[in-house]
Symmetry: none
Subunit: 220 residues, 4 copies
DNA sequence: TATGAATGAGCATTCATTCAT
DNA sequence: TATGAATGAATGCTCATTCAT
């Protein structure tokens, strides 16, 4: 029996590893091509698995995609949590948060891009059923998971700003709004069109820049 | 002869109208579905023309798309030009510019979205395909047109900020960076993911909010 | 391991068989309809495979077509090679060659027809498109393969005639020209219009007839 | 009333001229592209008429095509008739006939090509109706016209050869066969594949070559 | 479990032909 | 009569997904 357990365990482990590997490959392709232009063939090739095999790990292209999204959200959340728990100054914490989110956008490029941008696609994917029939009851759960994480991230950033207000470092304001504006700023910073090329700044420089403007505005 | 002229004129006019109408329909579909998910069938249906007819007005799906992009860019440019020529205070001008750009993002949603976001797609459409294939000589003109307009818009906004710096209203800073940050802020503000729904503000309220934060930052 | 090899082997075999089968079906359709009028749908139906499946075996309609051409060229070449190696009289060899080529035209009808006739189409398919467009580097290889085989066939027939000249069986002449004339005769013999129906001769009778006239001409 | 006649006459004339002009244009395009690849758009452009106008002169693309075929057949017929009525030697007459037919193939290239080659297409075109319904009664007339002319041409050539046999210039033989062989030789001579390029001979040289081989064969 | 093979549903694009003026 | 505009019907090709082994 123990033997069996071990075997099962090993299998489970192997499976987990494969899944991660596939996800890595998929991410690479999604990042390069975006969702629509990424083909399962390409992902399969990148993952060095057969296309059919992918379907044993993930129900669909979309599932794969959402898995990736979810994982990266979690990562961001964890990082910001850790930031929040340190003893830095509020200002410093804020800069760290900006940096963290910047990292996410920078590395996941098209991934974040898609999730944030292609609302129609998302809607379609999340309602996976298009075929008439009101999605019976299930499925809405999916976005809930995301909302949860995003809300947590949001809360953390709000907390940081709130803290700053309390300590008098920051002016009084609607913290929710400030937080949203900050998010927008970072988002927009990384999502420039195919034309605004600009000199590429490093993630750190970008974070500093954003931090600076978000803190001081442009007024004298 | 005058008769003929009139007839010709009327026809030309009709054609122009049809073109606009088709573009309107296409925009609607693109806005709803994004580029990849929008089908010519659907656009045709929306425009109440046969699919084949669309191809008498536009060479391809992409051409249609770019036409839409171009038109809206131009509109924004004209509006901002007009703003710049008025006698308002710099601060007010800035607010107007923000409002104008906000309008654009608000109404064109997915259109702007697509152009800004689906980089891979754009690259493909513009024949900047990474895959060797020397673009057979033609085509590069297309992005140039866009860059031109975008650059002009950018310059105008820079001018406004510059003005403020000169009059002492704004602090000294890298105007280019400030301009980019502002753009990012607006962009990001309108491109929230499918999850961050937030209470919808009116365009005016949004502009005020953005203006406020961009001016003052959050620091005391 | 042997097991695996066997399996792989069987699969490879199956695939090969399928390919042949599809080619057979395609040939049938091409023969009936010519290239332009043959549709992938029809070929798929004839092959009892889905259209998409055809594309797993061949990259395009053209590739299929050229594959067929190539195979039949090779067959002809092999047969004539064998004829040339026998110990028959030159005259007999010539008759055999005529018969062989006749067989080819007879069975491949429209296939040969297309290749020989639809020059414009061929040029298009082979990317020798007159319209500038430097063929992006690839593709020229294709026609080379064909030329090679055709040249070999041509050489063999020339050899045979040359032989006859040397032995004094045939009169002195430009062997290349004679060979071309012979080719033309056979070609033309099988490519009569839709109107010249004539009583159908058997391939053998046709070969005899051609042989007779090519040898003796009509003069006394 | 006379006025009207004149007007009508002029109109008829004009119409006839236009028809010829269109046919000329169509021929040019057909010659370059073959039937399937030639588009009405292109023909219209070449003819400097609107596409719709073409349809006022010809019922369909096919009709145009057949008109062209018919005209060239007639031309050949007339030329050969004239040859036959001269007082040349049989041999010379034969050479002239060969030259005439050669001219036809040379100038009409793809036109003759198509007519002779794309049997399937012809069948389709001649049964213009595909849509169920057995072609009520009409239509078979079309090929009859062609057959008539071709038969006449054939007869004339047969006559020439027959003459030669009677005068003892040519050996005894099945004149029909000889005539067919000659036709085949010429046909095949001009319908070489996209690969057999050969040094291009002038029409006269070609005729001489064909004449020589057809007369003497290759045997000593 | 892993995969080669198969496919249905689509999609952009083309073209001969008709219609309305 | 001449034509610009409109279109139905195809067509080659792709791709996410399933099946059989």
């Amino acid at each position: 029996m123990k033997k069996k357990d071990l075997k099962t365990e090993r299998k489970r482990y192997r499976r987990e590893e494969n899944k991660k590997f596939i996800l890595k490959a998929a991410e690479k392709v999604f990042v390069q091509k975006g969702f629509s232009l990424a083909t399962m063939d390409e992902i399969a090739k990148e993952a060095q698995f057969s296309k059919a095999t992918l379907y044993q790990y993930f129900k669909s292209k979309s599932e794969m995609f959402f898995e990736i999204i979810y994982k990266s959200f979690e990562e961001v959340l964890q990082k910001i949590k850790r930031v929040q728990q340190t003893e830095m100054s509020t200002e410093e914490k804020l800069k760290q948060a900006i940096y963290t989110i910047g990292c996410y956008y920078h590395t996941k490029k098209n991934i974040a891009r898609i999730f944030i941008m292609e609302k129609a696609l998302m809607r379609k994917l999340l309602h996976m059923s298009s075929k008439a029939q009101a999605p019976p009851t299930h499925h809405p759960p999916i976005p809930a998971r995301y909302r949860g994480i995003l809300d947590e991230i949001n809360s953390l950033v709000c907390e940081i700003i709130e803290e700053g207000v309390k300590t008098g470092e920051f002016r009084k304001m609607d913290v929710g709004q400030a937080c949203f504006i900050l998010g927008a700023m970072i988002r927009g910073f990384y999502f420039k069109g195919p034309i605004q090329d600009k000199k590429e700044l490093s993630i750190q420089e970008s974070a500093d820049l954003l931090h600076d403007f978000f803190l001081h505005g442009i007024k004298k």
